[in-house]
Structure formats: C-alpha cells, structure tokens
C-alpha cells in the first residue's frame, strides 16, 4: 500500500489518478513557480507535495505535464490567502472574513431591495466538485432567491448534452467505461484533439491505430490528426464550419450502400425514416463541394465504420466508436452537428451494443457532474428540469421548503453575461471557479459588463483576470486541500481527497455558502461538510436521470467503480442503453438536421476564419497553468498558427508580431507559421488574457437549442505589425505586380 493520498488530477475530465505525498526532500523535485505573469523569470519554489501517477483504468498510471506539475500551485506565492476588498483607489486590500461576509450579505440585500431577487446572479463552473456544484444551485435558489444561475459548462458541453438528451433521453458523456475503446478497430474522432487536451487518453486509441482505424475529423493537422499517419488511419480535413455536412455525407453513404443496421433502426429507434429522407440530398460529391473532403474519403470512412460495426456485432471482434468533441460542438449549429453524429451512430446500430458506441468527450474536470445537479439555469439536481412540476415538488420535499420558494428557469450563460449591469439584468454577481474575463466569447464586452456591476464577488485561489475586476475576492481551498467527489468523463463517480491543510486565511466554498445562507436567513440547511452535502445530494438525485442515491463515500473509498445511474439497491450502470434508451418508449429519437448557412459562411477578400482551441500545457483560461513555471516557460504566450502562404502574402515571418482583429476587438500575438493548417484559416489558443486574449475576437452568437457560443469560425483580419516587404512582394501573384 503506497503511502500518500490517493486522489485525482485537478484539471480535465479524464481525472487521471494520482498519489500526493509530502515532498521527501525539501527543494527537490521539479521547479514550481510563482510567476503571475508570463515571460518573467521563473523562480523555483519548493513544492509542498510530490505527485505520482496512480494505476487507474482511465490513465493507467500516466499523467501529462499539467498533472505532473499540478502541485506547484499549492504553495504558490501568488496565491490569495485573505479576503481582498477593492478600495476606491482600485487596489485590493486584505480584510477579515467577518467583515467580508457582512459586506456580501449587505450587497445582496441591497440589490434585492433596489432591483429584485433576479438582480443577484451566480456563475459557476464545471471544475467544482459535485458537492459544491449541488450546493451552489441550492444556494442560488434558496439563499439568494434568484433564478439567475448558470455556469461555464455552457461554453463546453451544452451542445453535446442537448443532443444526447434529445436522442437518448439522458446525457452521460461516455455511456461506457473508457477501457471499452481499447478493443475497437475503428474510432471516429470528431473535432477532438485529445493528444493535447487529455494526453493519457491516447492510450485507449492504440488498438484502433494498430488496426489502421483511427479516423480524425479536424480542419487542422492537429497532434491527434498526426496519429493517423503511417497507416494509423484517415485524417479528414473539412473546411471550418462544415463538419455537419461531412457527417451527413458519411451517413448518406451508409444508407445508400445498404450498410445501415436496418433491424436496429426498426426495433430501437424512432424518426429514422425522416432522417433517411433528409440524407438523400447529401451524396458524397456534393458534400465534397461543401467540405473540401474528397468523395473517395467520405465513402471509405463510411465503409470502414460499417465494416467494423458489423464485425463487432456478428463476430464479436473489434468494435466501432464515434466520439465527438468541442471542435464540432462549439458552433451555432453545434447541437445539430452532435445530433448528426448520433444519427450516424444509430444508423450503424452502435449505441447500446456490446462492443461499439457513441460518446462525447467531456472537457472540464467535473464537466459531467457539474452539469447534472442544478448549476444550469433550467435544471434541478439529478438532471431534472426546473419547469417540471414533479421535479419541483421532489426538490421542495428534499429541501424542506415550500415549492413556491424555488424560482423558475434563468438565463443561459451568454445571455446571462450580456445582462450584466443592464437595467433588468444581474447587478450583483458571484463567480465560482470560472474566469469569464478570458473564457467567455466577446470577452471585451464581458469585462465591460463586469465593470458595470454594482457588486462582484469572485471566489478563487489566484487573482485571475476576473478576480482582478472584483469588488471582493474570497480565497478558497485548492483541490488537494478539500474532500469531495467528481464525476469523470465516463459518468464514474470518484473521490477527491485532502492531502494538505489549506493556508489559515483560506476557506472552502461549502463553508462560505453555509455562513452566507445563515446571514441571509435562508430556509433549509447548508452544511460545510462534504460528506453531509453528498448524503443530501443522494436524496436529491434519487429518481432523477443522474441518480446517485446508491453511492456513498465508504463505497467509493473501498474502491468500487460507481457509474450513474446508481439507484439505491442497484449496482450502478457501467454501460447504458443495453436494454433501451431513456425515453418512455425505450427508443432512441432520431431528428433530421441540415447545415445552417451561417456556420458554413465563407469570408471573402483578405479576411480569414479564426478557430480557437487549446494547448497541451494549459487548461481553460490558464488562470492556474500560466502560474506553473514549467508550463509557462514552455508556452508563455498565445501564438497565431497560420499557413506559410497566408503568412508570406502578408509579410509575416515565423515568430513575428501580428495583429488579429475584427469589429469586436484586436489582439497582438506572435505568428507560428506551419503547414498543419489551411491557408484560409488561423488558429489561436484561448488560454491567455489581455493583448493575447482570443475571446476578444469571438462572437456571442449562440446555438438556438443549447446556448453554445460559436468559437470556431470568427471572421478576422491578420496583419504583420512590421511587414517584411520582400516576402510579401514575392508572394503576390504576377497580376498584382503589373498593377503596382
């Protein structure tokens, strides 16, 4: 039995298992840093804990760079360790907790009195533990008495969740354990760059790569797409915004070449006839003209998928999986694109079969649990709808309150953020575990919104870009300082354990909610003990879609693999859909979808399509990873990826400064010139603030169903700050020379 604390990584939804032990030799180990801004010299510090990978089915002992260096933030010098109040001079000064809590309670009451209950808002996060996410939803509705609560998962999983709910009646990212992928002979990865975002996951693609069956859909030759080289599979490079048409083209071939699983469609789905008809118009050559993907590759992809699905079903060999990621979901038609992927999987008869399936790869650490228990504007715990009278009655009973005290549905994140400081909008805002000043679309407008608030409270452990705007910053515990549960990308509930006592001035968010509820005379109870909150969550989720009622801390501590739904008295559900889907008729609902004009628009003239995305070294807004010296040294700043042709035409050299601009804003970054991207597209990671903030350029346009913003096809102009005239002259075509 190894010494140390068995827990999981603080970052992504793979939740790699790790062991934290006290640093054996002070000063040894890898450098941790306390550089609040990039590019300043790294100051090695002594990490308080040592990190080691731990054997677990998801990561098999592996960790990526982010995980290995995660302990560097625990003793970080830049940490907020006391409540900080912004003075009239704009400088934050430490105050005591009693005063801080009184100020918050007064601000809430003042906002209530002047603007009504809905003038107070809460913005949560997919990084919070289940206990915190659950209690935050309850806190908003019962203590703050507001309907205005939503969270950053809206920028992440909302399209996949909406599509999953519509088709299957339930939304669990992977409806099967991740090891199931190991035996697959074909895996279709739609818009997911796991080699950067969750590297240890790549182990589960090895079987498909060995079989030559890894098929990656990505406009860029991403690190993941590169795995398809050397016989590993196929890389399909659709034009940005045309993923939906590509999926329809693949589906068309499946139907027209008689490769669909007719018996499955007949017995286990509804609406398939309308879907089949809608596919008729998407023959491969037409799809080629829309997407730029050759018809031959579209056919080949369809046949490979069908062959592997058939072999898995008939011979019990291999398997066929379709996995979607943010690349196809973060669009104004993201829900429809995810629906098209689900339809394809249903045509092939994958969901609910023994060796095949469909799933979406959840991003944030608790992106799964965080979207189940009431942080969403329209939701109550257990993945219940807040508008459903039965769900409201159930929650009123669990909470011991009158049902009329539970507000109705609020606003999804983008609308929520647009309402900041507006006359009927949110005037007093709580932010928990999110950094909207960097991560939200049209970040410039969001920052202006934050500044127009009457009162902003941010709970964080660092002075994030959002915290910097706050009237009051409340320091909270980090991952290794708290107990709780997380639900990983497979819907498996796991334990986060405490390895360290937080610094003296730091509190947990549960404690904070509990004290504030008291000051606001809230009904019901607000415990500051995670185990007690989880026991309440069990009751709250009982009978809901995401039912945790059969799970407890002792069982998890004994090592049981607990997948929801786990009703009390059951053994949990590692694999969903074997006996039916979660609709009343047990059938999967197929909905015909077509591409929207907007998602496919092209940009004439000099403008380019900007896609935003991630780097291996950084997580989300970078509030944490930019403060880790090793990660920051490796990727200190945002770089704009562009094609050599695009660069040369504009006199841009590799490493040269460029401006990227549109009607919403402008950023200035260095260029990274390579051929892994199309000439009409540029890529910018969104982990950075200020002059390098990609989200200053993204538009707050959203999917009509999920509220997901469009992050992947913003129109931008790119210019060299100091152009290399010789380069540009050589690049323009001869007719231009004649004109000049």
């Amino acid at each position: 039995m190894p010494s140390g604390t068995a827990t999981h990584c603080p970052y992504c939804a793979l939740q790699c298992a790790m062991t934290l032990s006290p640093a054996a030799v002070p000063g040894a180990g890898f450098p941790a840093g306390d550089i609040p801004t990039p590019a300043s010299p790294a100051v090695p510090a002594t990490p308080l804990l040592e990190v080691a990978g731990r054997e677990f089915p998801t990561n098999r002992g592996g960790l990526c760079r982010k995980g290995w260096t995660s302990a560097a933030l625990l003793g970080h010098a830049g940490r907020v360790t006391e409540p900080l109040l912004k003075g009239s001079d704009g400088v934050h000064q430490p105050i005591g907790w009693d005063q801080a809590l009184m100020l918050v309670a007064a601000a809430v009451k003042d906002s209530w009195a002047r603007h009504g209950h809905d003038s107070v808002g809460v913005f949560g996060s997919g990084g919070l533990t289940n206990e915190k996410a659950y209690q935050l939803g309850k806190f908003a509705r019962l203590a703050l008495r507001t309907s205005r609560i939503d969270y950053n998962g809206r920028f992440c999983m909302s399209s996949a969740a909406a599509a999953g709910n519509r088709a299957f009646g339930v939304d669990r990212g992977l409806p099967f354990p991740v090891e199931d992928l190991d035996s697959a002979s074909v895996i279709l990865l739609l818009g997911s760059n796991v080699a950067e975002t969750m590297p240890p996951f790549v182990q589960h693609l090895q079987g498909a790569r060995d079989a030559g069956g890894l098929i990656v859909v990505d406009p860029r030759r991403s690190a993941t797409a590169a795995f398809t080289g050397n016989g590993g599979g196929i890389h399909l490079q659709p034009l940005p915004g045309t993923d939906l048409a590509l999926i329809l083209g693949i589906s068309h071939v499946v139907v027209h070449e008689g490769l669909a699983d007719a018996a499955f469609l007949e017995e286990r789905t509804k609406g398939h006839k309308a879907v089949l008809r809608s596919l008729t118009a998407f023959w491969p050559e037409r799809v080629q003209s829309i997407t730029g993907v050759p018809a031959t590759l579209i056919r080949e992809t369809a046949r490979r998928l069908a062959r592997s699905a058939r072999l898995a079903k008939d011979e019990g060999q291999g398997g066929c999986y379709i996995l979607s990621g943010r690349g196809v979901e973060q669009h104004v038609d993201g829900t429809d694109t995810a629906t098209a992927a689900i339809n394809l999987s249903l045509l092939l008869g994958l969901p609910g079969s023994a060796r095949s399936g469909y799933g979406t790869l959840t991003g944030q650490g608790n992106g799964q649990g965080g979207r189940e228990h009431g942080q969403k504007a329209d939701q109550l715990p257990g993945y219940r709808k807040i508008t459903d009278p039965a769900a409201r009655a159930h929650m009123a009973k669990v909470w011991g309150v009158d049902e009329s005290l539970i507000p109705g549905a609020g606003l999804p994140a983008v609308e929520f953020l647009k309402s900041l400081g507006q006359p009927d909008g949110v005037r007093c805002l709580f932010v928990h575990g999110a950094n909207v000043a960097v991560s939200a679309p049209d970040a410039g407008a969001v920052i202006a919104g934050l500044r127009s608030l009457d009162f902003l409270v941010v709970c964080d452990f660092f002075m994030s870009e959002t915290a910097a705007e706050a009237d009051l910053v409340l320091p909270v515990a980090q991952w290794a300082e708290e107990e709780g549960t997380m639900t990983n990308l497979e819907g498996r509930v796991i334990r986060r354990r405490r390895a360290l006592t937080p610094p003296p001035g730091v509190r947990t968010e549960l404690w904070l909610m509990s004290r504030l509820a008291e000051l606001l005379d809230a009904p019901s109870t607000f415990s500051d003990d995670p185990r007690t909150v989880f026991e309440e969550l069990r009751l709250a989720s009982a009978g809901g879609l995401a039912d945790y009622s059969g799970i407890d801390y002792d069982m998890l501590d004994a090592g049981e693999a607990a997948y929801w739904p786990y009703p009390s008295g059951s053994k949990g559900t590692p694999r969903l859909f074997a006996d039916g889907f979660a609709h009343a008729d047990r059938r999967a609902a197929m909905v015909a979808v077509t591409p929207s004009r907007r998602a496919q628009r092209s940009f004439p003239g000099d403008s380019l399509a900007l896609a935003t995305g991630r780097l291996l070294e950084h997580y989300q807004s970078g509030a944490q990873t930019r403060r880790v010296a090793e990660l920051s040294a490796s990727q200190p700043e945002a770089r704009l990826q562009l094609h050599p042709e695009t660069a040369a035409r504009r006199g841009i050299v590799d490493g040269g400064l460029v401006t990227v601009s549109n009607e919403r804003g402008e950023v200035q970054v260095r260029a990274e010139v390579n051929t892994a991207i199309r000439p009409d597209t540029v890529f910018l990671p969104f982990h950075f603030p200020g002059a390098g903030s990609a989200n200053r350029l993204t538009e707050a346009a959203t999917d009509p169903i999920s509220g997901m913003p469009e992050f992947k096809t913003s129109r931008v102009l790119v210019k060299a700050v100091r152009a290399e005239p010789a380069l540009a002259a050589a690049a323009v075509s001869s007719h231009r020379k004649e004109e000049s």
Binding site: G53, G62, L63, C64, R65, W68, A195, P199, P200, F201, V202, Q203, Q206, R221, A223, F227, G229, L239, H256, E257, G258, K273, A274, L276, R277, T280, A281, W283, E285, R286, Q288, S289, T291, G292, V293, P294, A295, T296, L297, R299, S602, P604, L616, E617, E630, S634, E645, R649, N674, T675, A676, P679, A731, V732, S733, S734, H735, R736, E738, E739
Partner: protein, 517 residues
C-alpha cells in the same frame, strides 16, 4: 385566413419547397396542394443511376413521404397530371377531370430527356414511344430496366458523353455490365472539359472498363433482338455498336408546355424574375429545371448572359428554399414585408463533379484558354489578366488546369487528383484567391508529410510531459537502461505512452555506441 398554394410537380425541388412551407401549413397560414405525375412522392433523381445499377434502394432515394405530409395537412395527389392552367379563373384542370383553385401557383414541372432524332425512334419529343431495350433513364421505371441489364451482365450502350451518361456507364461497368459510351467530338464531356483533360479522361474511362466511341454521329436504332428488342446503334459511317440495352443520355429539356399553354412568356424555360415570379403574373412562380431566371428589365446586369436552366439540382434547391421563405412572408406578413426580403442571389456557374468510384474528375467554368494564350494580349475592359496554370501527367492519369483572373478561379479541370479537386472546387465556389504558388494545390494528393523523422536532440520526444531527446539521452548516459527507468527519471513516456518506441530507440542507440566503442 389561409392562402391556397398549388405546386405542380413533385420532384426533388418541389419536395424542398414543400418542406420549407410545412411550418406555415402547421400554423394554418398556408393551405398547400402538391400534384405529382408519378405514383411515387419526390425522390432524388440525381441518384437514379445508382439505383439502376443496384447500388441503392428506392427507399433510400426518397425525399418525401406522402402519408406523413398528408398527416401534416398537405393535400398530396400522386399519379395525376395537370391538363391545363386556367389563368382567368385561377384554377388547374386535372387529368381526372376535376379542377382545383389556387391563389398562388408554382410550376415545378422539371425537365424531360431529349430524345435524339434517330431512325427507329418516334421523334415526337413530348410523347416518345421508345422501342423495347431503349430508355432515357429519368425515373424509377427506367432505372428498373437498367438494373435488369446490369444484373444479367448484359451489354449496355450509352449514347451521349455528358456527365450523366458517363456516371451511368462507369457505375454499370463497375457492377459488371459491358459498357460502351458513344459520343460526338474527340472526347466525352466536350462542353465542359478542355483537350488535355479530355485525353486523360478518355484513358481513364478505358482503364475503368468502359469502351468509348468518339467522333460518332448516330443515325439509327436497330432492333433485331428477340421480340424486336434493341440490338445495335448504327453510326453514319455504317458501323454498328451492338448491345442489349440503349441508354439515351442526350441532355434534358425544360417542361414548359403547361406554362406556355396558358400564355406565360417562355424561352428555353419558363421566364421568371429575381423573385421567381413569372413575367406579368406575380402570383405564379417557377422553380427548378423548368425555370429560367431572366427578368423583364433589359438593362439588368445579372441577366446579361443568363443561360437556360443548368439541369443541376443545387440551384433548384436554393430557389425552393428562397421561395418557401417568400411565400411564407406573403401569406403571413403581406406583400410589402415579403418584397423587403433580399432577392434570390445570382447563381454561380455550376460545378461538375463526376459521381464515380473509379475516376475522380471535377470541372467548372471556362477552360478554353491555354497557358500562353493571354501572355501578350491586354485584358479586355480593364479586367485583371487571365492566367492559366497546368499540370499534365497522362501516364499516371493526372491532369489539372486552373484558369484565374485576379487569382480567382474562372475555370478548373482536375482529373485523377481527389484532394486537389476538392480544394479547387471549394476555392471556385467561394471565389477565394488561389495561393500565388499554385503548385501547393498540386501537392495535396502527395504522400509527403510535414517534416518526418528528426534527429535534432533538442526536439521534443515526449509531448505529454514535454521532455526533449537531449534530456532522455542524458538520463540514459547516467544509467537508465529501460523505458520505465527513463520515465522515472525524466517523466518521458508517462502520458499517452506514444513515445515508448522513440525512447527505446534512444536507449538502443546509446548502448550500440557503447559496444562499438
């Protein structure tokens, strides 16, 4: 108050219009009737050949379901024809003798195949009586004839070297029929493709198992088969092309008789303006293969050089989508609101992508110019200079020609280079500027990958943990002799494990060096 709309015809374009009008039908603002001549509701005619060679099913071709539409409140009549349109009384007279009134009428009557004037074939284009063993492959019945021939591995003769003829010939050959294409001119697709592309196409067709008879003028159809069935196509030089089935693929002609019969102005198609309204009758419309967009204004720049209907389905679908929005606005928001909607956008010249498995071919625009044609001539009307770039590798069946003005494609030909074709078509349709180095577009089908194996010691070997080759070599030099040992010392290989082979190679190299020394 609901507005009565009658759609004449129920092909793929009409299906799209009906689908677009469904929301208004559900709201009760539109009362919709669709009249289809065939017994089936709309299906995708573009894929009839696929069905004809047994690659698809009639069910998979369906684009509408009559029963479902009826359940939604649409009045669907199948197997009826419209005998005439009574403009004065605003009603259509049907083949069963009944009449139906309309407030708005949409012609979606499509097109019919051109039947060439050959001895042995009734020349009346409106009522052709084709001999046994001869078909024009327009509907599902025709496709059934082809299917029987292909299944029996018979000889199929295709008359016509257009895109549909080639697609059918290639599909039939791939599915086992012996196929011959007979066409005029030196190579098939003579209207679209240039000489170089045509030569490469000819060779590709032959290697795909399709016989090609070029420069042919056919004069007669011989039917000396059993029961007088088709036996050979006779050419003007007296030669005979023998076969068991003759497919006529000589183009299509818009079906305009109904419109013409009620006095509406027509040219090749029914003339409509930029709101798809027939001339002088703003409550009558035409879409798809039967419609010719050419407004009554003589000075209209968009209509200058307008041509007959393209016969492609894409423009028809765009018209159907636009008209659905316009009709909905008319019914729900009134004339003024509807007329404030933007007019139908001008169609770009069509792109032809051959639907075939063995041959990759894309053609669009004007490809008549050769690379040196315009080198010394001034451009007309101050237009940017026309430039032609070309790549020919007939030995490997590859050919590309890009004709540009101001860097934007005016024409393209691509044979045997799928990724180049896909990219060029996208650039053509979007009107995007080509890279100045045109050869970039030729390398997309190449096997070369961005920078392969790299022995630079500073290069990152383990991306997950960010460990360089140099760091791994150092750990090996200081005693690590296995991947786990290197992992423990450097963290390399502790993420996805994808670099284990590279680490092994570094270890082996080190110890080989040690032995050699």
């Amino acid at each position: 108050m609901s507005e009565r709309i009658v759609v004449v015809g129920f092909g793929p374009v009409a299906a799209r219009l009906v689908e677009g009008l469904l929301p208004a039908v559900r709201r009760g603002s539109v009362s919709l009737m669709v009249l289809g001549q065939e017994a089936e509701a709309a299906y995708n005619r573009v894929m009839v050949a696929e069905f004809g060679v047994g690659r698809s099913t009639a069910e998979a071709l369906a684009m509408a379901d009559a029963a479902e539409l009826i359940a939604e409140g649409v009045d669907v009549r199948l197997g009826v024809t419209v005998k005439r349109v009574d403009r004065a009384r605003q009603r259509v007279v049907l083949s069963d003798g009944t009449a139906e009134g309309y407030e708005r009428l949409v012609f979606a009557t499509g097109a019919r195949p051109v039947i060439p004037n050959l001895t042995g074939i009734n020349p009346d284009p409106a009522h052709p009586v084709l001999p046994a063993g001869v078909t024009a492959l327009r509907d599902l019945n025709d496709a059934g004839m082809l299917l029987r021939a292909v299944t029996a591995r018979q000889r199929v003769v295709v008359l016509g070297g257009g895109v549909l003829g080639l697609e059918t010939a290639l599909a039939a050959a791939e599915e086992g029929a012996q196929t011959t294409v007979v066409h005029s001119g030196p190579h098939p697709m003579g209207r679209n493709i240039d000489r170089g592309g045509g030569a490469v196409l000819n060779a590709a067709l032959r290697s795909a198992g399709v016989s090609v008879v070029s420069n042919a003028v056919s004069t007669a159809v011989e039917h000396n088969g059993p029961d007088g069935i088709f036996s050979a196509l006779v050419l003007d030089d007296g030669s005979r092309v023998e076969g068991d089935l003759l497919l006529l693929s000589c183009g299509v002609r818009p079906r305009i008789e109904l419109a013409e019969g009620c006095g509406l102005p027509v040219a090749a198609g029914i003339l409509v303006d930029h709101r798809l309204r027939t001339h002088h009758e703003p409550h009558m419309f035409a879409i798809g293969d039967c419609a010719e967009v050419r407004c009554a204004s003589s000075g209209c720049p968009d209509c200058k050089g307008a041509t007959a209907p393209s016969g492609l389905v894409g423009p028809g679908w765009r018209q159907a989508e636009w008209l659905a929005g316009y009709l909905e606005a008319l019914a729900e928001d009134g004339q003024e609101a509807a007329d404030s909607l933007p007019e139908l956008a001008k169609e770009q010249p069509g792109v032809v992508v051959l639907k075939a498995r063995g041959i990759n071919l894309a053609v669009a625009g004007d490809n008549s110019a050769e690379p040196w044609d315009d080198m010394l001539c001034p451009s007309p009307d101050g237009l940017p200079h026309r430039e032609v770039a070309q790549w020919a590798d007939p030995g490997h069946g590859r050919y590309v020609k890009m004709t540009t003005r101001g860097g934007v494609l005016q024409g393209l030909v691509s044979v045997g280079m799928p990724r180049t074709a896909a990219e060029l078509v996208v650039l053509f349709e979007r009107g995007s500027e080509l890279p100045a180095d045109r050869s970039l577009l030729l390398r997309l089908d190449g096997t070369d990958q961005p920078a392969g194996a790299n022995n630079d010691p500073a290069r990152t070997v383990c991306r997950c943990a960010g460990v360089s080759g140099a760091a791994i070599e150092e750990s090996v030099a200081s005693g690590c002799a296995s991947v786990p040992e290197v992992s423990k010392a450097t963290r390399a290989g502790t993420g996805c494990g994808g670099c284990h082979d590279d680490i092994k190679a570094i270890i082996e190299k080190h110890f080989q060096g040690a032995v050699a020394a």
